[in-house]
């Protein structure tokens, strides 16, 4: 933005806001007017948007704090020690890492990006990104509370891990992993294993990730953790908010009754529940309770599809993926889990009787 256009843009924003406010107040006062329907829709849209945002905000904050902690108190050597060297073992560890980083699908994105910056191999990070929203103590507890110990719980965890590990392995085959990452998310990451030589020559020497790392004391480190968390919140928050706007827009436009009408076909019910998961965009920590509402009428496979695919890909979190990966990688991150979820869920529908 040049010096001249910036004030124009700021005034433009301010003017648009005042105009919108005037319009809403005037029309709102006169609810019988022809625009009353619009005001109703706007009000519904805003309520749903704020609902999604208020629900997601604490979890995103948690993720950004985790990201700050990793940046300040963690270094490359710690990662080197903890991550196994073969792609398969790496992807499995990535899939299980959520057990120690309890984050949902909003919090996992900033954390994964930070771990990539610290040199986490791509396959491990992808597997972590996809699995952590389900493979974590909070979500396991909420699924247990909703469904009890049974096939839904075990299949949710098992399928999530399986899909995350397979997707991670597909990414491990990339010979140029740095090309899949957004420029802001890569340090000197390596290929499938941490053993292979660094592929990028970016050695800026900045930050504790590179060079000699002195772990700061808590008193020194904490303000930095909070500053990083704030920056991360602004970086990721805007994508979360755009995603929430999109999700609430879809909810005010797409009639859900049409989706809920198809509850029995082995394939169509799976597709309906996947669509529902994507547009509802609810946090993985609570989605089990929502799925339970459909467990009576929808096929088991479709309820599982909701529980497995929703946490991996939904409108609000997927938009945040663009902050970590490039567009092509994001397409893979959506399509691979989608194809596998459909495959496994339809298989379950066709081959089981519960």
């Amino acid at each position: 933005m040049t010096r001249l256009t910036r004030p124009v843009v700021i005034f433009g924003f301010a003017f648009a806001l005042v105009a919108a406010w005037l319009a809403v107040t005037l029309i709102g006062a006169n609810t019988t007017g022809p625009l009353a329907g619009f005001v109703d829709r706007l009000s519904t849209f805003t309520t749903i948007f704020l609902g999604i945002f208020i629900e997601a905000a604490p979890f995103l904050l948690l993720g950004t704090l985790g990201s700050g902690l990793v940046e300040v108190f963690f270094n490359k050597d710690d990662l080197n020690r903890l991550i196994p060297r073969t792609p398969l073992a790496g992807a499995i560890v990535g899939g299980l890492m959520g057990l120690f980083f309890p984050v949902c699908e909003c919090g996992v994105v900033p954390l994964t990006r930070r771990l990539f910056k610290k040199g986490l191999p791509l396959s491990v990070g992808v597997s972590f990104l996809l699995a952590a929203p389900v493979m974590n103590p909070i979500v396991i507890a909420s699924t247990l509370a909703a469904f009890g110990v049974g096939p839904v719980l075990f299949l949710r965890l098992g399928l999530t891990l399986l899909i995350a590990v397979i997707t991670g392995l597909v990414f491990a085959r990339q010979t140029h992993p740095e090309r899949l990452l957004n420029a802001t998310a890569w340090a000197e990451i390596s290929g499938g294993s941490i053993d292979s030589p660094p592929l990028s020559a970016k050695q800026t020497g900045e930050g504790p990730g590179v060079g000699i790392f002195a772990r700061p004391s808590l008193r020194e480190g904490l303000p930095r953790v909070l500053t990083i968390a704030a920056d991360e919140f602004f970086e990721m928050g805007r994508y979360l908010i755009i995603g929430s706007l999109l999700a609430s827009f879809m909810q005010t436009v797409v009639p859900q009754s049409a989706l809920l009408a198809v509850s029995s076909g082995p394939v169509i019910s799976v597709l309906a529940m996947i669509t529902l998961a994507v547009i509802l965009s609810v946090c993985s920590t609570v989605d089990a309770f929502i799925a339970l509402a459909f467990a009576g009428t929808f096929t088991t496979g479709s309820v599982l599809a909701f529980l497995v695919f929703g946490p991996m890909v939904d409108l609000k979190s997927t938009i945040m993926f663009l902050r970590v990966f490039n567009r092509k990688a994001v397409v893979y991150l959506i399509l691979l889990p989608l194809a596998m979820t459909i495959l496994f869920s339809v298989f379950i529908n066709l081959n089981t009787t519960w």
Binding site: M1, R6, V9, F13, L17, W21, V24, T25, D40, S43, T44, T46, T47, F49, L50, G51, I52, F53, I54, E55, A57, P58, L61, A146, T184, E220, P223, L226, T227, A229, A230, D231, F233, F234, E235, G237, R238, I241, I242, L245, A247, S248, Q251, T252, V254, P255, Q256, S257, L260, L280, S281, V282, F289, I290, L292, A293, F294, A295, G296, T297
Partner: protein, 252 residues
């Protein structure tokens, strides 16, 4: 934008988000957006926003030398000033901006157009199936009634039990004259997953009720069917206008 101004704006927006959440909690309107079990989490998030804001608000520079890490932060700021453009600040401020501009309202009859309404929803989440029948009829809300009719082995045994429910008026085009739906939204976690549920009410002056106004309906229930499903129907003896309840939604 200089790093200092950028930081100040960031701090203001974070503080704004924190105050916004606290105001929602204070005024009780938080429940228009999210289930009450998120109260503590929302409170923590509000405090988190305020702490982050306090932490990044630029300090007044002392006359003498700057502390070491303050300097490092200033360098850091500059990077981010370019990475996160001004529109990013605007977007993050959107929850507060929209919250102030658009008059806050809980989901009502107007939202049914998109969400559809259920008269026999299988909303089984939480709550045992038999316990719902233990609630005294006069204490049952719309959700309890729908469940009771879903799970009663013979719903006609519920006939003539007195219903006493509060909900919004929804004029469904599928209903006959002299009938309306008294509805509520049932919510598991936040309004994104809201499902509208309703009971058919027989009331001669149904057409005169304003859509989306709240009413208190009293009268005996009767088992009825719609599309092959058992639904409760209220033969209203009285329908009074009431103000919207402070907890607009029902929690399964």
């Amino acid at each position: 934008m200089t790093p200092r101004i950028y930081r100040t704006l960031q701090a203001l927006i974070l503080a704004g988000l924190g105050v916004f959440l606290l105001e929602k909690i204070w005024s009780g309107t938080l429940y228009w957006y999210i289930s009450n079990r998120f109260l503590l989490l929302t409170l923590l998030a509000a405090l988190g926003f305020l702490i982050l804001a306090q932490n990044i608000l630029p300090r007044r520079r002392p006359a003498g030398a700057q502390p070491e890490h303050e300097h490092a932060e200033a360098d850091h700021d500059h990077d981010h000033g370019e990475a996160a453009p001004a529109w990013g600040l605007f977007v993050v401020a959107l929850p507060v901006i929209l919250g102030l501009l658009v008059p806050a309202r809980p989901l009502g009859a107007a939202a049914i157009a998109n969400k559809g309404v259920n008269t026999s929803a299988p909303l089984v989440a939480g709550g045992g199936q038999t316990t719902k029948l233990d609630i005294a009829p006069a204490d049952r809300n719309i959700l309890d009634w729908i469940r009771a009719f879903n799970y009663a082995s013979d719903p006609t045994t519920l006939n003539d039990q007195p219903a006493d429910v509060i909900g919004f008026v929804y004029q469904d085009s599928r209903l006959g004259t002299g009938e309306f739906l008294v509805g509520r939204f049932a919510i598991n976690c936040c309004v994104a997953d809201a499902l509208a549920i309703g009971m058919v009410v027989q009331w001669p002056e149904a057409a005169s009720l304003a859509a989306n106004s709240w009413v208190h309906v009293r009268g005996p229930v009767e088992a009825s069917t719609a599309n092959g499903q058992r639904i409760p129907l209220i033969k209203a003896e009285s329908v009074e206008s009431v103000p919207p309840p402070s907890q607009p939604y029902l929690y399964p």
